[in-house]
């Protein structure tokens, strides 16, 4: 595929608001997981909660979009001069030529959770103040972002569970390559809610402790929240050697089970191979792999097998979910930004929380940070329904 340049990017998660704070946490090998004290949840688990989401206001003219998910999106959009960068590309291409493609799994469903607690005692009706379309509906976050940024090109949400915002890069890439648009605002936003906290708990997939990806004692995920965005444009004469490019996108399905990965990671393997083929790269060209690495026994086992079958046992890899938690539909975009920071700063972030790597997992999991040239990074995102997406980022020069 023709590479695309990430001309601007930003991320907000429990390890930091914006790039500087995120990089500082990664460099310090510092995580952001805390004991769950979210809303009225009474689950023994840890979460990756972003501070300041509740206090974030939306501009008054878009108050109909008000919900935790869009507040988180607003908070993230305010970092790193992102609005200014959007203004620049809008001036360059025109708002109609810029699409908006955002991944989310639950969007603003918390508004509906709250509304169900406030039903009319006689009629059962939801409260009049509850608005479905601009909060609960998955599209609400893309609709908010496009209005807030004044972009008028094609817009849609990709919602394929925990692969959502990785796949949003694929959709954006096809739209640009086809000539329908010239640039895209791509990203992901997922916020804490009771549906996911209690849902993963019901499946016994969330850990009471901070999650420990690839650890011999790993016992589940820590649900997190994040918003991460990037601007994608074609490579131009303004592209610098240290610019970060999207080189490859690979997607696949498991055809196996709704909530368990293929035991040998066949779908994951297929996605990674497709990304390498799209990028025209060999496995040996990849310097670091940012794993899906959720910390469930089954994910890490199948992903390790898939990684080793392609890359062998020496390519350094780690999961940053021990630091950020599993930010679900936002994970692909968050980890795209982390991959970009790894490339720009020559930093392979070692896995936080993991103390003893499971010796049966043959992938080369790194626990400590490594410094050195990082030219190409592969980032994995897999989701319920057996949906897989691998992205390859790298330096332009």
């Amino acid at each position: 595929m023709n590479p695309l340049e990430l001309t601007q990017f930003t991320a907000t998660s429990c390890i930091g608001l914006g790039l500087d704070a995120t990089l500082a946490s990664l460099a310090a090998h510092r995580g952001g997981l805390t004991r769950c004290n979210f809303e009225t949840a009474t689950i023994d688990t840890h979460i990756g909660e972003v501070s300041g989401v509740d206090a974030q206001q939306l501009p008054a003219q878009w108050s109909i979009f008000d919900c935790r998910n869009n507040r988180l999106a607003e908070l993230a959009l305010r970092q790193d001069g992102f609005f200014d960068a959007v203004g620049e590309i809008a001036a360059r291409w025109g708002p109609r030529r810029i699409g908006v493609f955002i991944g989310t799994s639950t969007a603003g469903i918390m508004q509906t959770e709250l509304a169900y607690r406030a039903r009319d005692p006689i009629s059962g009706a939801l409260p009049p103040s509850f608005v479905y379309g601009t909060t609960h509906n998955s599209f609400s976050v893309a609709d908010y972002v496009r209005r807030r940024c004044g972009l008028e090109g094609p817009a849609m949400v990709v919602s394929s569970a925990c692969a959502s915002s990785a796949k949003a890069f694929g959709t954006a890439r096809r739209m640009i390559e086809s000539g329908l648009i010239d640039a895209a605002l791509v990203g992901g936003t997922d916020s804490l809610c009771l549906t996911t906290l209690y849902g993963f708990h019901s499946l016994q997939l969330s850990s009471p402790a901070p999650c420990r990806p690839f650890d011999i004692a790993r016992d589940g995920i820590s649900v997190g929240e994040a918003a991460a965005f990037a601007l994608l444009e074609r490579v131009s004469d303004k592209t610098r050697g240290d610019s970060v490019l999207l080189y490859g996108v690979g997607e696949s399905s498991d055809a196996y089970h709704m909530s368990a990965p293929h035991p040998e990671g066949l779908g994951a393997k297929r996605a990674m191979q497709a990304a390498l083929a799209a990028a025209g790269l060999e496995p040996g060209d990849i310097d670091y792999i940012n794993l899906h690495g959720t910390g469930t026994p089954s994910n890490d086992r199948s992903e390790s097998q898939a990684v080793t079958s392609i890359f062998g046992p020496t390519t350094p890899c780690s999961s940053t979910k021990g630091a950020t938690g599993h930010t679900l539909g936002a994970a692909g975009a968050l980890e795209a930004v982390i991959s970009s920071l790894a490339i720009q700063n020559g930093l392979m972030p070692g896995g936080v929380q993991t103390t003893r790597v499971d010796p049966t997992l043959t992938a080369h999991y790194i626990k400590e940070n490594r410094r050195g040239p990082v030219r190409r990074v592969l980032s994995n995102s897999f989701g319920f329904g057996g949906t897989n997406c691998s992205l390859i980022f790298g330096r332009a020069g």
Binding site: G124, D143, P154, S160, Y198, S253
Partner: protein, 265 residues
């Protein structure tokens, strides 16, 4: 910028629309439209354990997807797909929100697995054994054209066939009052980069600012407006009539899709 493809098989299921041949007869005017609740078939293509767990949204999507694949004579396992819907399983969502509002907060693990927006795509992959990529989109009332645009760009860029499935089901009360989709309606079509023996028509899609076409019959127009996937009805009418023509399909506040159809005769 215009994107082009060839339409292979088509699938339709909705209120008073039982399959593509019958829907085509209604849309071309050779049969009257008789409103009736959508009857969703049991997805026999799924293993029994999975079949028991599927709700209306999965039944609907699998029904129209398999009708389109079968009529095109395409092996579904080899088809990349795009599933686009304005919501996931509304009944599952209701059950989860009700459980979370109760004292026990016991969420069913199966319901949680089935609450994802990509539930139909996941079951389609399991049912057909397809490991091909499957994209899953939502654009609220604009979901149908969102799916069409993503499918058309896949055909244009990847030069591979795509199964497009656009489908919506209803929410039960009390959510129904806030999102009053009246019944289930889905459409599916196979889009290919090259003309094949079974190609029905050539399709061209471009963005436009023109207003969306309406349907003259009040009942069909009401359906078009009530269910997002039914925003495709003006396109299906052209295909049903088997004539060359151009229609404008509803999309976002600032843009619509201009669709040009030329039958393959």
């Amino acid at each position: 910028m215009t994107l082009s493809a060839y339409i292979g098989g088509i699938g339709v299921l909705g209120p008073g629309l039982n399959n593509w041949p019958q829907a085509a007869a209604v849309l071309s005017g050779s049969q009257p439209y008789v409103a009736a609740p959508t009857v969703l078939p049991t997805p026999s293509m799924l293993p029994p354990a999975e079949r028991r767990r599927t709700g209306r949204v999965v039944k609907l999507a699998l029904a129209v997807a398999s009708e389109a694949a079968a009529s095109a004579g395409t092996d579904p396992a080899q088809l990349p797909s795009v599933f686009s819907s304005s919501g996931s399983d509304g009944h599952v969502c209701h059950e989860i929100c009700q459980a979370l509002a109760s004292a026990s907060r016991e969420v069913s693990p199966t319901r949680f697995s089935n609450s994802v927006h990509n539930v139909a795509s996941g079951y389609w992959s399991i049912a057909t054994g397809s490991m091909m990529e499957s994209n899953v989109l939502c654009a609220f009332d604009a979901s149908c054209v969102a799916g069409l645009l993503d499918s058309m760009t896949q055909v244009a860029v990847e030069r591979h066939p795509v199964l497009l499935v656009a489908y919506d089901t209803e929410y039960p009360p009390p959510l129904h009052a806030k999102r009053p989709i009246p019944d289930a309606l889905g459409i599916a079509m196979i889009l290919t980069p090259e003309r094949a023996a079974g190609s029905i028509a050539r399709i061209e899609v471009a963005l436009t600012e023109e207003a969306a076409d309406k349907l003259a019959e009040p009942e069909l127009e009401a359906l078009r407006l009530a269910i997002p996937a039914a925003r495709s009805l003006p396109l299906l009418r052209l295909l049903a009539k088997g004539v060359k023509g151009r229609v404008i399909l509803d999309y976002l506040d600032v843009s619509r899709a201009a669709v040009q159809i030329e039958p393959c005769a």
